[in-house]
Amino acid sequence: MSARVLKPEENYITAEPYYQPVGNEIKIFEAAYKQNLPVLLKGPTGCGKTRFMEHMAWRLKLPLITVSCHDDLTASDLVGRFLVQGGETVWVDGPLASAVRNGAICYLDEVVEARKDTTVVIHPLADDRRVLPMEKLGQLLEAPESFCLSMSYNPGYQSVLKDLKQSTRQRFVALEFDYPASALEVAIVQRESGVDEALASRLVKFAGMTRNLKGNGLDEGASTRLLVHAGKLIASGIEPVTACRSAITQALTDEPEMLSAVNELASSIF
């Protein structure tokens, strides 16, 4: 079997991605989209932000272009650049420009990771001008009606260096995400991983314990995503304590004392 090759702007999502709404986030997103307002998704890692975007792309029937931001991401990585082909210079759109050109959804994942001077290029797109200046081409690209800009951000990293500029964040409608309430989380783990309810609720309880440790030795507690991973391992016949160790504990920390403490919690609960 060979991998499917897609251009980013052709990335339509055809099958409905499972997403369990926690509040009225779908309604708010749709309203913001209709009003051409960009959206900021705030929340800890693995709580469903990216899944929510896939779900919305499916709902709105738009291609989804995701950019995972990192600290070397420059403005030209987003907008585009000249390349040399056979002795000629050729302009190549970056993911942001191609999303604007095709009226797609552009989702900037973990936007705080990008350098501050990079995030500034989205400003004209994120207010009522809705244009992307392409300085190197000397052009302004005006966004079509269907274009949608969204980005995600994890306020948990409490580093001064990694905070969003006010001028950036105040352009966005913010949706707050958190781990779902336990009953809902049990349902999600059950549905995504295929374990039974009793096991799913044990996993959720275990996640609650690790979340108690947040700020006291752990940077983050176990996310819903990790629970699903553990659940999937258990569903394929791995022993629960072992599954938690591999899928959750080892993902949370490298610190030996914390590792054994979290392992002790896991072995207490199963």
Partner: protein, 706 residues
């Protein structure tokens, strides 16, 4: 290789006399060594080694151990004996000789939790893991402490310092974990609810409390069975390993009664009343804690008052944030704006969780509020309506609202405001003395004189030169050419590549320019010797060097701090702040540099420990601790010679383990004798001439950081 011959009574006696000198009567010493003569040589060496370590602290302790040693070493694992002796020394440091001798005399009670030759678990070593474990389990933060018997006062869990009742370490760890979890369960599952405690205090029958406790323990076990089935299996395994019998039939019936809803703590009271006089208690399980209700009640009363105040203030803050306009109204109307509802939640042991709403709309609880509410619920089983009325900070005594600044882990020797306690390494004991140095952070008294100006004048050419070199070290964006990838096309490279192509050669691929952002990300702390010996030239050179350094550092933009240190005995260790990391290089700082004065002695270990802890809080790639000193560690107590050097060395090792690079600049010409031992061969510079210090310091800094 066959083991060496054991030492004879005579030889032992000689050695003991040497260690204990003349303080112990010869006949007593002889009585002590006789049993030692029967031991194999390796154990004899072990005992003698310990006697000498103990005697370096106190001869009596050494002698008393000598008397018990022979019996102990054959019965016990050596690791356990080590721990017990360290514990004894800690007690000596904390409470003096009487208390320490008592520990030695009570060796049997200390070893109560031990079986012969078992691989035990030492609480101190497992504390980190257990602390995290408990934090994961519960909402209220529990402290861990050593206690001869396991019990909890509802805020601290006391566990025996050593547990060695079972043969293997893993089994013993399970036992400690079970003890901790059981105490946690007492707190979590309502054993200490205020109404219950009040009823208990009214009981005058002596048999009531033990029976109540036995039934409650049974209930807690059932709670654990439902909540933490894995741990419950451990409990069963432990009972088996300890050879503890099944419950008597009568008790099994009670257990059945409790089984329906073990989370209901009230029923224990009813059951106890019912069976009082007709039921004998069963032998407590090894992991069951003892009860000290008066301590629980005392803690609880303090806590209830504190938490009520804190919750109300926290809710006030929440209201101000969420609905500032309604805050004023409700204060007048007196109607509580917050409401707490029990929402059914099958994942909680109680079957519900608390949800908070403000003026009818549900609100997400901040961590603080959530923790307070869960702690209040643990004490009271309900949230009294009054708790939900926001109140201003000014309504309360600040002592209710804020914990006193905690000093260090464990017991501190004094509770002076703003005092930090640091351990110190005793090389003779080969162990730390806990909370040994009382460190206060003071600010150097500024002196507003001509010093800074005249220094700047004196070294004007040097300053100019330094500014240039340091400026060149700044962070900057560099445009890198001929890159394989980048934002823009490198026209020169492209022209070249096209020319190559026309000439029939392969076209290069490095055709782009890329902006490279280099970051220094360095934090450096200067630790300046302010001991009495710096009087005169040295002090002046230090101050001049600091002025030059600051001027230069302002150009490079690194984060830096300057602290002086001096002290006289462990009780008066002083750190003098000259410039903190987040302080600007202001006139105030300049006049503090000018105001640096020689003080007392050169106790170094505490200064290194304190400054490394400050440095560790700074988020930087490279952290450097540079010491400016004029001689070896020294203090008026026993910090002379080897002791001081060994403690300083240990502090530097800890410092490196924290990811900090220590470096020393000294003018002591004999430093080659001890600095390599303390700092390592390459981490120091000895200046022959003090007048070079101002020239050299910036130079060394530059070399260290680039």
């Amino acid at each position: 290789m066959p083991e060496a011959q054991p030492l004879t009574v005579r030889q032992l006696h000689q050695q003991l006399q040497q260690i204990l000198s003349a303080d112990i009567h010869s006949c007593d010493a002889k009585a002590a060594v006789e049993p030692l003569a029967t031991l194999p040589r390796s154990l004899q060496e072990y005992v003698l080694n310990w006697i000498s370590r103990l005697s370096s602290t106190n001869i009596q302790i050494g002698f008393q151990f000598a008397c018990k040693a022979a019996e102990l070493v054959v019965r016990q694992d050596l690791h356990i004996i080590d721990t017990w002796l360290w514990h004894t020394l800690d007690i000596y440091d904390l409470s003096g000789i009487e208390a320490a001798l008592e520990v030695i005399h009570n060796v049997d009670s200390f070893l109560h939790y031990s079986q012969e030759h078992s691989a035990g678990v030492v609480l101190e070593e497992e504390q980190g893991v257990l602390q995290h474990f408990l934090q994961g389990l519960s909402g209220r933060r529990m402290k861990l402490a050593e206690g001869e018997q396991p019990y909890t006062d509802s805020e601290t869990l006391y566990l025996p310092p050593i547990v060695a009742m079972l043969p293997s370490t893993s089994e013993n760890f399970k036992l400690v974990k079970a003890m901790a979890a059981f105490q946690w369960a007492q707190n979590r599952f309502g054993s200490f609810r205020q109404p219950l405690l009040e009823q208990l205090q009214l009981q005058d029958d002596d048999a009531f409390l033990p029976l109540y406790q036995a039934i409650d323990n049974l209930r807690l076990e059932l709670c654990l069975q439902q909540e933490l089935p894995g741990l419950f299996r451990d409990l069963q395994a432990l009972r088996q390993a300890m050879g503890e019998k099944e419950l008597p039939t009568k008790w099994q019936a009670i257990r059945l009664q409790l089984q329906d809803n073990p989370f209901d703590a009230e029923q224990v009271m009813t059951l106890t009343r019912e069976h009082l006089g007709s039921l004998q208690g069963y032998k407590p399980r090894s992991y069951e804690p003892s009860l000290r209700y008066d301590e629980v009640v005392m803690r609880q009363n303090e806590r209830i008052e504190k938490e009520q105040a804190r919750l109300k203030v926290a809710l006030d803050a929440l209201q101000q944030e969420l609905a500032p306009d309604t805050a004023a109204q409700t204060a007048v109307a007196g109607e509580p704006p917050f409401q707490a509802d029990k929402v059914p939640d099958s994942t909680q042991p109680e079957g519900f969780r608390i949800e908070l709403s403000l003026n009818g709309t549900p609100v997400a609880m901040p961590e603080l509020v959530k923790n307070l509410i869960s702690s209040v619920m643990m004490d009271l089983d309900e949230l009294p309506p009054d708790y939900l009325v926001p109140a201003a900070t000014s309504d309360y005594d600040p002592r209710l609202l804020y914990d006193e600044k905690s000093t260090t882990d464990g017991a501190a020797t004094s509770h002076e405001e703003g005092t930090f306690f640091y351990k110190e390494w005793d090389h003779q004991r080969q162990h730390y003395r806990k909370n040994w140095c009382a460190v206060r952070e003071l600010v150097v008294k500024p002196r507003h004189d001509d010093f800074v100006r005249s220094t700047k004048q004196k070294y004007a050419p040097l300053i100019q030169q330094l500014n240039k070199t340091f400026e060149a070290m700044r962070d900057e964006d560099k445009l890198l050419k001929k890159q394989p990838e980048g934002e823009d096309i490198d026209i020169d490279a492209l022209v070249e590549a096209l020319a190559d192509h026309h000439a029939g050669q392969e076209m290069g691929e490095r055709l782009f320019t890329r902006m490279h952002h280099s970051e220094r990300n360095i934090a450096v702390c200067f630790m300046v010797d302010m001991s009495g010996s710096t009087q005169g030239w040295i002090n002046e050179a230090e101050r001049e060097a600091l002025i030059l350094l600051c001027e230069a550092l302002e150009h490079v933009g690194d984060r830096y701090a300057i602290y002086g240190f001096s002290g006289q005995t462990r009780k008066h260790c002083e750190i003098y702040r000259i410039k903190a990391f987040d302080e600007r290089y202001s006139d105030e700082v300049r006049s503090r540099i000018s105001g640096i004065e020689p003080k007392d002695y050169t106790r170094m270990g505490f200064a290194i420990r304190h400054l490394s802890s400050l440095l560790s809080e700074i988020d930087a790639h490279n952290r450097i601790l540079i010491t400016l000193s004029d001689g070896k560690p020294d203090d008026s107590d026993n910090y002379r010679g080897e002791y001081g050097i060994e403690d300083t060395r240990k502090a530097l090792i800890e410092c490196r383990q924290d990811g900090i690079h220590p470096y020393c600049i000294t003018i002591d010409k004999s430093a080659h004798d001890y600095l390599p031992h303390m700092y390592g061969a390459v981490s120091y510079t000895v200046l022959d001439d003090i007048s070079l210090l101002p020239y050299k310091v910036s130079d060394i800094y530059k070399r260290l950081t680039s």
